[in-house]
């Protein structure tokens, strides 16, 4: 077994990176995959609370790097999925406590015993981001249909190109189909045209996401959640399955156009 290392990044903060990581990891675990999540946001850790594991932290990634514990000791087993783990960020250290080569080494150690390693990148394009992409086999860029988020996503895509990190895949998060219909929100076609990268999924704006993070239970566990369904679909696409895009508002024209753009029918 050799894991695929996937980094989730965005440029701008607050677009839903951590939510995406928690949901994709959980969806992959639901599909029976062995998953390790790494919180790459040193000093501002959050993946632990979103996953509901904050009370179980003993060691963190900086403890591993500085030799205070073994890698296995810093891996927190999920409450519901015994094959899913979290390696938390250090809360009281700064981003310079980790280097890109540390991340590469840790990911390589994890590859043998897992199917997916998912790294939650911090916002920005500085050290923490560089650490997060260092080991990535594949990068997912999360954005919202808003000018600031799209602009920052474009910067990140430019850096990934310059670093020859392969073709990043886009997650368009928090799309409001009604606003798109009223021409008051950038459509998926607009965002794809602007960014010029491949789409891996569109996640509709959905209250259940906040309810899920309130409880520390990612929405992919909720069979009725639309956002949960979108994340479950993305997880399947990451496993190489050809899953059609959801019809978010029964608007044939728009959504079939997106599917054409994304090269899936």
């Amino acid at each position: 077994m050799t894991a695929q290392v996937i980094t989730v990044t965005s440029g701008k903060g607050g677009v839903g990176k951590t939510t995406a990581v928690a949901n994709l990891a959980t969806a992959l675990a639901i599909d029976g995959k062995r998953v390790v999540c790494i919180d790459g946001d040193i000093g501002l850790r959050n993946l632990d609370v979103v996953m509901g594991l904050e009370n179980r932290i003993v060691y963190d990634i900086v403890d591993v790097i500085e030799g205070r514990c073994k890698l296995k000791q810093a891996m927190i087993r999920d409450k519901h999925f015994p094959e899913m783990y979290l390696i938390p960020a250090a809360q009281t250290r700064d981003k310079n406590a980790v280097s890109p080569s540390d991340m590469v080494r840790i990911c390589n150690d994890l590859r043998a015993d897992s199917d997916f390693v998912i790294i939650d990148s911090p916002a920005g394009i500085e050290r923490g981001f560089r650490n997060a992409i260092a080991a990535a086999d594949r990068v997912l860029v999360v954005t919202n249909p808003e000018v600031s988020a799209v602009r920052d996503a474009d910067r990140v895509v430019g850096i990934l190109e310059a670093e020859e990190k392969g073709n990043p895949l886009l997650i368009l998060n928090r799309l409001n189909p009604t606003m798109v219909k009223n021409n008051d929100m950038l459509s998926p076609e607009d965002v794809l045209d602007l960014l010029g990268i491949q789409l891996v999924g569109i996640v509709p704006e959905d209250e259940t996401v906040i309810i899920g993070s309130n409880r520390g239970a990612p929405v992919v566990n909720d069979p009725k959640s639309r956002a949960g369904q979108a994340f479950r679909n993305i997880a399947k696409r990451l496993q190489g399955q050809d899953i059609p895009f959801m019809d978010l508002n029964q608007q044939g024209g728009l959504w079939s156009a997106i599917q054409r753009l994304a090269g899936r029918k």
């Binding site: 808003e146 000018v147 799209v150 602009r151 474009d154 910067r155 895509v157 430019g158 190109e161 798109v180 009223n182 021409n183 008051d184 929100m185 950038l186 459509s187 607009d190 602007l194 960014l195 010029g196 990268i197």
Partner: protein, 84 residues
């Protein structure tokens, strides 16, 4: 005439503004730098051929993730030149 009064949709504004911003972000050229590039280019070309500076169009265009500098520089016809 109706279009003149009708306000552009906010999504259209967002897209148009982003198109411009992204081209400048990607090339690391400010609109002012582009203007000065255009002036230098025209000066250089004018040393060899007669052009109409007012008809020149130079701009950055987007094609997927790549940018290109596109210049449309109409030449003044030689006969016109001789006549003058």
């Amino acid at each position: 005439m109706m279009n003149f009064f009708k306000r552009k949709s906010s999504a259209t504004s967002a897209k148009e503004r982003l198109q411009l911003v992204l081209v400048h972000d990607r090339t690391d050229l400010t609109p002012a730098q582009l203007e000065s590039l255009k002036d230098d280019l025209l000066k250089a070309i004018s040393q060899y051929i007669d052009i109409d500076p007012d008809a020149v169009q130079i701009g950055l265009e987007r094609d997927g993730r790549s940018q290109r500098l596109v210049a449309d520089i109409p030449l003044r016809s030689p006969s016109h030149h001789r006549a003058g």
